[in-house]
């Protein structure tokens, strides 16, 4: 029910009605962008932005830097784990 899917705004259809064309997994459909435009983000500036689409509305602008940070954090964990497995570093002892 609450599922959302990431899509990229490719074109603004109507500045007045705040309708954009959004590419969602290679399918393009009209999406209402009223909830993600404001003085700081007028419709014309939104082309290229990634948004989370839910039932025909863009509900959030996806923060690419945050997504990268999360993935980097997870990758860092993997690196540390790999080094532990190869004996390069000693794991921290977990104290009960």
């Amino acid at each position: 029910m609450c599922l959302g899917i990431p899509g990229q705004i490719v074109e603004i259809h109507s500045e007045e009605d705040k309708v954009a064309l959004v590419d969602v997994g290679d399918v393009r459909r009209q999406v209402n962008i009223m909830c993600i435009v404001d003085d700081e983000h007028p419709p014309a500036s939104c082309v290229g932005d990634w948004v989370l689409v839910h039932v025909g509305f863009a509900m959030s602008r996806i923060d690419e830097a945050e997504a990268t940070r999360t993935i980097e954090l997870l990758a860092e964990m993997s690196d540390v784990q790999a080094k532990i497995e190869h004996g390069a570093i000693m794991p921290k002892q977990d104290t009960p």
């Binding site: 609450c2 990431p6 209402n32 909830c35 839910h54 509305f57 690419e64 945050e66 977990d94």
Partner: protein, 381 residues
């Protein structure tokens, strides 16, 4: 797909699982019993079962599947009301796909359609508004349901209808709100819970502040979680870290989508169009105070309950159903007397079997496997 595939990487999942394995050894209560984590949102329930995360996690971590599937908790009486509306010859009933399958005492909207009612599945409430423009001689009713994630979409559709002066569109409002729901869960007498995974997409609308009471008053850690397997595992790791360190806070794992303040425009639309209902009936849980919303007087012309004579019936859940016990974590889905026998996804008796996000349907589709049958992904030899 961007922002999706990256969060399904099996190698990273394996590392998170190993970290979780190490972490549970540091948690005092794990020596006596498992840590119980409630995922509030049905979307999370679906991810957990689809990817078998419950089977990959150590036995010290157990999920309690929360009440966050709005399709599942829609009471039978409201479905009957909806069918009564759909059976009117002047009405085209519209709703989301999964809402068409939920059964009342006289079947589902899908069955009503088979008997001749004009019921149409739409992707967005805006599609229903388009049907209203295309059929000026018909009354278009949209069955609106869902938490704060979906509420802005129906509110904005009503505002659009008002702006255009569309007279033949109305909403049958069954929206519910998350905070009274979580409070009801926390106040239920037999519930034992240690932490929450917070609903990511509700949170992108309401922000983080409304959850503060969970940590402050009830002392439970929470992580707002995304919907991919790595999101869930990282969130589990976050709440377990809090438990291990004796902290309880509302943390945000889903920062790429959830800003701390939520979505101001969406909240404004919600408050403009909706006001609280004192009581709202839930399937399997009974009435939860202040959990529902209704359309404000100003928009009465777009309220199907005011526009038509809705029977407003109340129908008890089937006595054999144990949805309420599953919802509060008292029993597992497969411990219900009718699970998989008289209640299946094809012929759901209870609400939790209706939508793929319901705990019972997820269990039925993915969960009926013994833990020992599952091999971790890319396990080191």
């Amino acid at each position: 797909m961007k922002f999706v595939d990256d969060f399904r990487d099996p190698q990273k999942a394996q590392v998170l699982l190993q970290k979780i394995q190490a972490l549970v050894k540091r948690i005092e209560l794990c020596r006596h019993r498992p840590v119980w984590i409630m995922e509030v949102c049905g979307g999370h329930t679906h991810t957990i079962f689809r990817y078998g995360l419950n089977k990959m996690l150590p036995e010290e971590v157990e999920f309690i599947h929360g009440p966050g599937c709005p399709v599942c908790v829609l009471p039978r009486g409201r479905v009957d009301d909806c069918i009564a509306l759909a059976e009117r010859s002047d009405v085209i009933m519209t709703t989301f796909g999964d809402a068409m399958r939920v059964t009342g005492s006289k079947g589902s909207l899908l069955q009503a359609r088979a008997k001749g009612a004009d019921v149409r599945m739409v992707y967005s409430p805006l599609d229903a508004l388009q049907i209203a423009r295309d059929h000026p001689n018909k009354e278009i009713v949209f069955l609106g349901l869902g938490f704060e994630t979906t509420m802005p979409s129906t509110a904005l559709t009503i505002l659009q209808a008002q702006k255009e002066g569309i007279k033949n569109f109305s909403l049958f409002c069954n929206h519910i709100t998350i905070i009274p729901t979580i409070r009801a869960v926390l106040d239920s007498p037999n519930l034992q819970l240690d932490a929450f995974l917070g609903p990511g997409h509700v949170s992108m609308v309401i922000g983080l502040a409304p959850y503060a009471f969970i940590a402050q008053q009830y002392g439970k850690p929470m992580a707002i979680a995304g919907f991919e397997p790595l999101d869930i595992l990282q969130s589990v790791w976050m709440v377990l870290t809090q438990l291990a360190e004796g902290r309880c806070e509302v943390e945000n794992q889903y920062q790429r989508v959830v800003p701390p303040q939520g979505n101001v425009q969406a909240l404004q639309a919600i408050h403009r169009v909706y006001e609280g209902r004192e009581f709202f009936e839930w399937r399997g849980l009974g009435s939860i105070d202040h959990s529902g919303v209704r359309i404000r007087e100003e928009f009465a012309a777009f309220d199907a309950e005011r526009k038509f004579q809705v029977p407003d019936v109340t129908i008890a859940d089937p006595s054999s159903c144990q949805c309420g016990e599953v919802l509060t974590g008292a029993i597992k889905p497969n411990q219900c007397n009718v699970f998989g026998t008289s209640c299946t996804p094809e012929h759901p008796l209870g609400a939790l079997m209706v939508s793929t996000e319901g705990a019972c349907a997820a269990y039925y589709h993915y969960g009926w496997i013994d833990r020992n049958d599952i091999q971790p992904v890319n396990a080191p030899a």
